[in-house]
Amino acid sequence: MISQEKLQAILQRLRAQEGVRGVVVTTMEGLPLSSDIDPDTTESVAAIITSLVGKAMDAVRELKEGNLSFLTLDTSKGQINIAPEPKEGLILVVLKNNE
């Protein structure tokens, strides 16, 4: 499993980027591990994004398109970037504002 220091370093770098509103790391069980936004939103993000990733992975598998590596949701408020890491059992979620 990825070390805490390594993970924290990645999160620091992401948070420093312009337009980033929040960075959440959740387990594949939908439980948040790390977050810099409020607890209620964190809980929702972890639960709902994990559910979405599960469905997306199913879709990719059904279509025999290999493995899911990245998901982007474009929204009116900005963008949600989702990077699943099945080997680590983690999902990285980055919420961004519109530029």
């Binding site: 959740t26 069980e29 939908g30 439980l31 929702s44 639960a47 994990t50 599960g54």
Partner: protein
């Protein structure tokens, strides 16, 4: 008293949220099963005894929390090699969800908290004793006949 079907509706809503959820049971704190919904594929079990244990386990944890003065109990999670049981506070009752081992725990917690609020309200209405015309006589008939049956046992 509210329409009992409303419980089934909310429980069905919860069961649909995640494919790993197999069973939802609503119990009160005396151990009585008020309503339950299962996926068709779920194993057949005696829901009354599942409900009685779910309620007692939750209340025992609640009691433990009181003794340790660590506030209100929100959710009890029991993890087994082949599945999980979640029990959450729900007003005067306890909401119990049985799932497979591999499941989106965050989603189940979220849904239980969200639907728990509505269930708690419905439960309050359900448990409130509102005398309805003719209702008491009906109950009295039931009680009377039980009394007679009892003598014949």
């Amino acid at each position: 008293m509210s329409e009992p079907k409303v419980f089934d509706k909310i429980l069905t809503e919860i069961i649909r949220q995640d494919k790993g959820v197999k069973k939802c049971i609503l119990v009160d704190k005396t151990g009585l099963t008020i309503a339950n919904v299962s996926k068709l594929s779920a194993f057949v079990v005696d829901t009354d005894s599942i409900g009685a244990i779910a309620s007692a386990v939750f209340c025992a944890s609640e009691e433990q929390g009181k003794n340790l003065q660590i506030g209100e109990l929100e959710i009890v999670t029991s993890e087994f090699s082949g599945g999980k049981i979640f029990a959450s506070a729900c007003g005067k009752g306890v909401l119990c969800v049985v799932s497979e081992a591999e499941v989106n725990i965050g989603m189940i917690r979220l849904v239980m908290k969200k639907q728990g609020v509505q269930l708690a309200e419905e439960l309050d209405k359900f448990l409130a004793v509102e005398p309805m015309p003719g209702k008491d006589e009906l109950d009295e008939e039931d009680l009377k006949s039980a009394l007679e049956e009892l003598e014949r046992v």
